[in-house]
């Protein structure tokens, strides 16, 4: 499938980008700002894409990089984390698992998100994050182990 125009991309990948940002920062307001900045970058840089899948991967990579910058900013370090959720109610079990994932270090959280939510294989995650597949495998394994430990169950 060919790549979308930036305006079409908002419609097609808006949820994906916002969800990724929310999954990594767990704050809807910050996620909205990050996702918006990602789409503005799409307009500013106008990269060429081979396909819609390539465009989606670029948007996700851009989102992850933005989230990392967000955590490095002084404002985030000084501010207390806001306990805000979306209007859609989460079940207690969902809240527990979201909190557990949010407590993971960023390097584990991003591979957990890309594997479980976006359904990428470890090879695809390695390509997307510009990393080695073995590194992704070990990060996924350690992230899972930490979640199992926190949730006292299977993941």
């Amino acid at each position: 499938m060919p790549a979308f125009t930036p305006e079409e991309a908002v419609e097609q990948f808006g949820d994906t980008v916002f969800r990724a940002a929310f999954g990594l920062v767990k704050n809807p307001q910050d996620a909205e700002d990050i996702a918006q900045e990602v789409f503005l970058n799409l307009v500013r840089h106008a990269p060429r894409f081979d396909s819609a899948e390539h465009q989606k991967a670029w948007l996700l990579r851009c989102t992850i990089n933005r989230c990392k910058s967000h955590f490095r900013s002084a404002w985030v370090r000084r501010s207390a984390p806001l306990d805000e959720h979306l209007s859609t109610p989460f079940t207690p079990a969902e809240n527990t698992v979201l909190d557990a994932v949010a407590a993971l270090p960023m390097k584990y959280r991003q591979v957990i998100y890309l594997h479980y939510i976006e359904g990428y294989s470890t090879a695809e995650i390695a390509a997307l994050l510009d990393s080695k597949q073995n590194t992704v495998l070990s990060q996924l394994s350690r992230g899972r182990a930490l979640l199992k430990d926190t949730l006292k169950g299977d993941f």
Partner: protein, 210 residues
């Protein structure tokens, strides 16, 4: 106990609101308008990149005079070798007016072959066929947009070209020294070879043979 299914169902509930999408589209339109209003930066395409015209002009101002100087010294200028040996550069007058009429060059400047050969390698060494990239791994040294090249058409021809380039460098490298490869936009193969240090890599760009 909560598990990955709860994680998936929780994230499925997360969607970007219509209000956010509308605001984003408006900001994107404003950004596009601002870009169109500002004077576009003129660029020259170079591989998959676009070099600003001012940068290209600066390079030309430095490179062209240097190239012209080196060409002059090879093909007829008065070099140090010329001055040392009168045999190297001699002005030959046409034997007769008939020679001149037949197209003989009135003042042919003959450069000695050995002098030309001595100068030539310096010219090729001045322009390496690769770009040096500092990176943590060969894969990371590839351009960000590079796609896998393993099954691309023309890979063998590109590797043949790479072998020729490497042979010309004379460092004994071949295609077997390639650490990573990729295909970039503009139909060019890129090959990564080890550089001069552990974190330095050489990036060779070879156009696809059509």
């Amino acid at each position: 106990m909560p598990d990955s299914q709860d994680y998936k169902s929780a994230m499925d509930k997360v969607t970007a609101g219509q209000r956010w999408k509308q605001a984003t589209l408006e900001k994107m339109q404003a950004e596009t308008g601002a870009q169109n209003a500002s004077r576009p930066r003129r660029t020259i395409p170079f591989g998959r990149r676009a070099i600003p015209l001012a940068t290209a002009a600066a390079i030309c101002l430095l490179v062209i005079p240097a190239a012209a100087r080196s060409l002059t010294s090879v093909s007829g200028g008065a070099t140090a070798a010329d001055q040392a040996s009168p045999r190297v550069a001699t002005r030959q007058m046409p034997e007769s007016s008939a020679d001149a009429a037949n197209g003989a060059v009135p003042f042919a400047l003959a450069a000695a072959p050995e002098a030309t050969m001595a100068e030539a390698p310096q010219d090729t060494a001045a322009a390496p066929a690769y770009t040096t990239v500092e990176s943590t791994s060969p894969e990371a040294a590839l351009p960000a947009e590079a796609r896998p090249a393993e099954e691309a058409d023309g890979l063998d021809a590109a590797l043949d070209q790479l072998d020729e380039i490497l042979a010309a460098e004379g460092e004994g490298r071949t295609r077997s020294d390639v650490l990573a490869s990729g295909l970039v936009e503009g139909d060019c193969f890129v090959f990564v070879l080890a550089g001069d240090s552990e974190t330095s890599y050489r990036l060779y760009q070879v156009p696809c043979a059509q």
